[in-house]
Amino acid sequence: MSDALLEMREITKSFPGVLANDHVSLDLRPGEILALVGENGAGKTTLMKILYGLHRPDEGWIAVRGTRVSIRGPRDAIRRGIGMVHQHFMLFPPFTVLENIILGEESQTAGVLATARQSRQLSALMEENKLVVELGARVEDLSVGIQQRVEILKILFRGATILVFDEPTAVLTPQEVVELFRTFRAMKAQGRGIIFISHKLDEVLEIADRITVIRHGKVVETMDREGATKQRIASLMVGKPVLLEVERPQVTPGPTVLEVKDLVVRSPRGYDAVEGLSLSVHAGEIYGIAGVEGNGQSELVRAIAESAEVVSGDILLEGKSILEDGVRERREEGIAHIPEDRQKYGLLLPFSLAQNLTLGMHHKPPFATRLSIVNGKAIRESARRIIATFDIRTPSEETPANALSGGNQQKAVVAREMSANPKLLVASQPTRGVDIGATEFIHRQLVKARGEGKAVLLVSADLDELMALSDRIGIIFKGKIIKEIAHDQAVKDEVGLYMTGEKAHGAA
């Protein structure tokens, strides 16, 4: 294996109570794209953190181009030619692209930044890797896809030959994914090696040369792309056969539950993020909202489920305006909300699971008496019922929420919102960062809600998810729904074109 660019051998790492990596070995050849797949908590991130020097392994070793190396931190990793593109970009938004890239590597002539030479260097890199970015632009003005290019340029500029991408496509539009993969192929052609972490098996099968599946900290199998199927990878990841397709029984939509009329919402930053948006969702219907992040999705959700600042327009629930209502009233009127950032909004982490499962309903009988005394017994009983119905894995209902695994925390939030028996369920990125098993669970819940005659508003960055679940897809661009497409007419590439505004309303 001396021709390998990178070898990781028998890497073992345990944290208190968890064996995150158990004798994991993998190798990466020059000019190869290796996909690393596994459920959340399978140990992918730990392995990559070890490679990047953020954790030290308990056992095992790493070799770069046949030489054993010890990596004590990101600096060491970069010196060895290992670069990482994180899910959350490490950029300074007010700085220009050039400044961001050369930060820490500035070359100087007599104390003055010599940027001309470095920009020439960068132009060459951009050319070779098909990564076009305007060097003088400010990062804060760039779209997420372009920011990612800046990240990639940053590590290429530092001479990376081994590049790790942690779910790089999660935030991209289909077109941006195509361009990212073009870059991947260009880098591959130069003999660089790429480790590609992803949940999206279609993408893995499209771009990877080999696929390593990790489960419970162990490598289950490494296979070539030829002969690999989605079904097989998914089953290896989960450890049992997985249903990839969601069954959507025929449901006849009922009356309109949610109606949004010419809505204008001001974002906290002071501009109108939603500009004259209209849509309606019927009972027994899943209405999906597709769009590049930052086109007003979050503000729309906040205007419906919370109380964001509405400038004009109206939001009607079963014909009644809810604009004047606070969050509590909206919940009582039948709006449930699976928030985008569940870590931040979903759970009171130090509180017991039981308390979390009644949160939002905690102020009403039977959970609190008319005299406002907390009824612990009712809370625990209700929690036990929800835990059983939704199969939340927990030692008991008294376990604090922060002792649960990430997947079970997600489940708890979904279970709570579903069990409130809402008329309208607003689900914002419900499967972001969720592994296959839990994704399947959440999808089934959304379809079940639809079957029970609830209206579901689904906002997701995952087009496959939207296309699989939605009865109608509305494409949001610059705060407006510019196109609505029925379930059976949705074509992924076309939706993608609308998302970037390349195709405008009526031009179809």
Binding site: L347, F351, S372
Partner: protein, 367 residues
């Protein structure tokens, strides 16, 4: 059963920071005493004699811990709601004054007068918390800044009123600026006789007065509020995460304003003992710093209404220990304050370490 015992061990570990911190700071004290060329044995004997050597000394500690407890309790409520009320010093001065006004000018029978002065003290404290609370809720102005400013305003206001319109100073009596003497019906009686009758020999010079009852009732009530009522749940939820609370439909502003004012109301009780039991009149020269001590008392006890029983007793003990140290050795009183600070640092730091240790032990248990 073994697992149960294990869990208890982890719990005990989590709670042991105050003890370790106390011992560590006593070790530092020993070093300081030795550095000053004193005999640590003699010094500690002085501390012992003055603090816990007999029933009378213990009664004194109980007495001193009453205002400490109420001050800590006031902070507990605010901190649990995520409100950094640094203003209970000012709330205590204003609350005491409003209570004293009721005590001086309302001619009432005792059975009414005493509850009335207590309620007015609370109203005064709550009133002084109201403006910072509204500023925070409506305009997002940091309560840390406003309450500190309100402390200064309170002191200036009290100074002006007690020297001016409310002055009760009579010629030839005292030079201390003060209000008129309280009506006898507003004076708090002592419980010493009761304690003697149950076999605790509390000497007459120790004040175990009605404020002890007030503190007990307040403590139980706040505990019940926090842990047995929906409002308390919401207070704790808001203190844990404003984002989650808002998402869940909790009216965060209302909860914080309520907790803020309740904190002020309890702060208004801090002066009861000194004004209504010990002095018998309101003065600008009330013991200062009691409000600020409440922050440390609550912090050490992790904002627990039960925990502050012990931390306020600890503060009372340190106060007495300081007197003992001064009397029996040449260690200056400022050292006691330094030790108090060192102890708080130790406890908070050790607590953080122990919480992390306990967390990893628990994870092991779950896995």
């Amino acid at each position: 059963m073994a697992q149960h015992r294990g869990r208890f061990g982890v719990y005990a570990l989590e709670q042991s920071a105050p003890f370790i911190g106390f011992l560590a700071s006593m070790a530092v004290l020993t070093l300081i005493i030795m550095g000053l060329g004193e005999n640590p044995g003699k010094a500690f004997q002085g501390i012992f004699k003055f603090s816990i050597s007999d029933a009378a000394k213990l009664a004194a500690i109980l007495s001193i811990s009453i205002p400490y407890y109420l001050s800590g309790l006031s902070i507990v409520i605010a901190f649990r709601a995520g409100v950094f009320n640094i203003g209970n010093e000012g709330q205590y001065f204003i609350g005491g004054m409003v209570g004293a006004i009721a005590g001086v000018y309302f001619p009432l029978p005792a059975f009414l007068h005493i509850p009335v002065v207590i309620i007015f003290s609370m109203l005064g404290g709550a009133l002084w918390a109201f403006i910072p609370a509204i500023l925070k809720a409506a305009k997002g102005i940091s309560e840390v800044i406003t309450t500190i400013m309100f402390n200064n305003i309170a002191l200036a206001l009290v100074n002006f009123l007690v020297n001016g319109p409310l002055s009760g100073l009579q010629k030839g009596t005292s030079l201390e600026p003060q209000m008129k003497k309280l009506l006898p019906t507003a004076m708090f009686g002592k419980l010493n006789g009761f304690f003697r009758s149950i076999g605790w020999n509390v000497p007459n010079y120790v004040y175990l007065d009605y404020s002890l009852i007030v503190a007990i009732i307040a403590g139980v009530a706040i505990w019940f509020l926090l842990f047995r009522t929906r409002q308390g749940f919401e207070i704790r939820a808001v203190g844990t995460s404003i984002d989650v609370s808002r998402y869940a439909g909790i009216r965060v502003n209302r909860v914080q304003i309520g907790a803020f004012m309740l904190s002020g109301a309890i702060a208004g009780l801090i002066g009861l003992q000194e004004i209504f039991a010990i002095r018998g009149f309101y003065t600008y020269n009330l013991a200062s710093g009691l409000g600020f001590d409440g922050i440390a008392i609550s912090l050490i006890a992790k904002n627990s209404p039960i925990g502050i029983i012990f931390s306020s007793a600890l503060f009372a003990f340190l106060k007495q220990a300081g007197y003992g140290l001064q009397l029996f050795s040449k260690v200056p009183n400022s050292v006691t304050y330094a030790i108090q600070g060192i102890m708080i640092l130790f406890i908070v730091a050790i607590n953080e370490i122990l919480i992390r240790a306990a967390r990893s032990l628990r994870k092991k248990e779950v896995a």
